[in-house]
Every structure is written in C-alpha cells, then in structure tokens.
Symmetry: C2
Subunit: 146 residues, 2 copies
C-alpha cells in the first residue's frame, strides 16, 4: 500500500514544502489508485477538500510529482492530460475502451523481456508506458447488437 507519510517524507527530503494544497492533491491521487484522473478531475476533487485550491497550483504540483516519479502522466484522450500515482508494489497497465472510455487495470507486464532485448544495444530502460485499446465486454455487446 501507498502511505501518504512516506510520500510527504520524500517530498520534504527533496526540499519541497508541505502545503495544504499539495497535500490534498496527493490525497486525491491516493484515493484513486488504478484510475487515470484528468487535471480537471483532480482540481475539482481537491476543491472539495480545500476550496481555495487553484488550477495553476494543481498543474504546478503535478509537474513536480511527475519529475520525481511519484506520478505517471498519460494522454489517453488527447484532450487533457491524465495522471495516476505510482505504486511500486502494484505496478500495472491499463486497457482502455474506445467506446465508453472506461479503463481497467491489467497486472501483467512483459517489460523484462523488452528491456533485456534493448539492453543489448546499450540502451538503459528506466520507464515504460503500455496501453491497450479496444472494446470492453459491455461495448462489444452493443456493437454486435447494432
């Protein structure tokens, strides 16, 4: 499990301060492990916790969290970026339904096979992004019906 204290400790150690805004962003991300949240989503959920939160602040903090690898950024929709907190002991990827947009978690990850192939060329892999697109059970049914 992710512990908020550990994350905050790690921020402190890097010289970042713990503000109420930053704290609420992290809380929101932790409450939504396994989902990608859009910046707008995060912003709105943070406002519930701490109404003064500003959108710029959310952007600035997500950038910091991404820089220190506490958060993964993706651009599924093309519209606006989405974020998910990194959880080292529950590494996973997502399948994304092209019809309803729902995402599901896949625990399987073949990255080892990949990195060993690439390592032969002297490339050092530190990070990866895998996303599967298609149609979920529900939406497949609909397609067949129509």
């Amino acid at each position: 499990m992710i512990k908020i204290d550990e994350i905050e400790e790690s921020l402190k150690n890097k010289g970042y301060k713990l503000t109420k805004q930053r704290n609420s962003i992290i809380e929101v991300l932790i409450e939504n492990i396994g989902k990608f949240l859009s910046v707008e989503d995060i912003y709105l959920k943070c406002k519930d916790k701490y109404p003064k939160t500003n959108l710029s602040t959310v952007y600035r903090n997500l950038e910091i969290l991404e820089d220190i690898n506490l958060v993964h950024k993706t651009n599924i929709t093309g519209a606006s970026a989405s974020y998910e907190i990194v959880c080292s002991d529950c590494h996973h990827h997502h399948v994304i339904c092209k019809t309803c947009g729902k995402t599901e978690v896949i625990d399987f990850c073949p990255i080892q096979e990949f990195t060993s192939k690439v390592a032969e060329d002297g490339f050092l892999v530190t990070d990866h992004k895998i996303e599967l697109y298609g149609y979920c059970k529900n939406c497949t049914k609909k397609v067949i019906k129509e």
Copy 2:
C-alpha cells in the same frame, strides 16, 4: 514495403480525393518510417514539397489518416502530437531517450501474451501503444562522465 499507390488507392476507394497536399503528407510520412514526426515537422517537410501547404490542412489530413488506420498518433513529448505511418509488415515499437529525444525501433512485441490475458475478461483488444523510456548508449556515457 509500403507502396504509395496502395495507400492512395485505399483513400480513393473511401471517397477521398487525391490532392497535392494530401499526397505530399503521405510522401513525407513514407520517407520517415520508423520515426515519429511532430505535426510541425510534417508541416515543414510538406512545405518543401508543396509550398502552399497549410497547417490546418496537415491537421485535417492526419486526422483522416488516423481514422482509417493508416497512421499512428502518439503524445510522447506532451507538447504536440506525433505521427508515424502504419506498416503492417513491419510492426514495431520505440525506445525513447530521455536526454537527447532520439527514438529507436524495437522489433519485438509481446502483445499476444497481453491480449490473451485480457480476452479472458471479454475485452477485445484492437490496438496498443508501447513505449520504452530511458537513456541511449551515447547519453548513458555522458551521465557517467559527469
């Protein structure tokens, strides 16, 4: 190999017309198989071939080409979208150097293992995106030197 005639035939069959602009976009994409080009890159290269080309036209055509699956879109940089032409007999993924931004092609693809896992849940996978990030041989050396 990709043949420009086949692509154009397939566009014609779908009711799209062959304009000089559309043609030059396809040419540029074919000349850059294995690389992701930003919209701006494509635009500039097209202007070399056909100076009247407009940025909106590039956007509109890339959208069409993506819709009919002749082109893959990605958002590596976060800044602007990148495109690569689809080549059915040379499916591949990329490793992307976080220092110099260079991309290299990896021929290996573990998608089969993935889709069979997901199929159990009734999810139908039609498409996927795999990107590896890290440091290329050159940049790894530099990091060590410093």
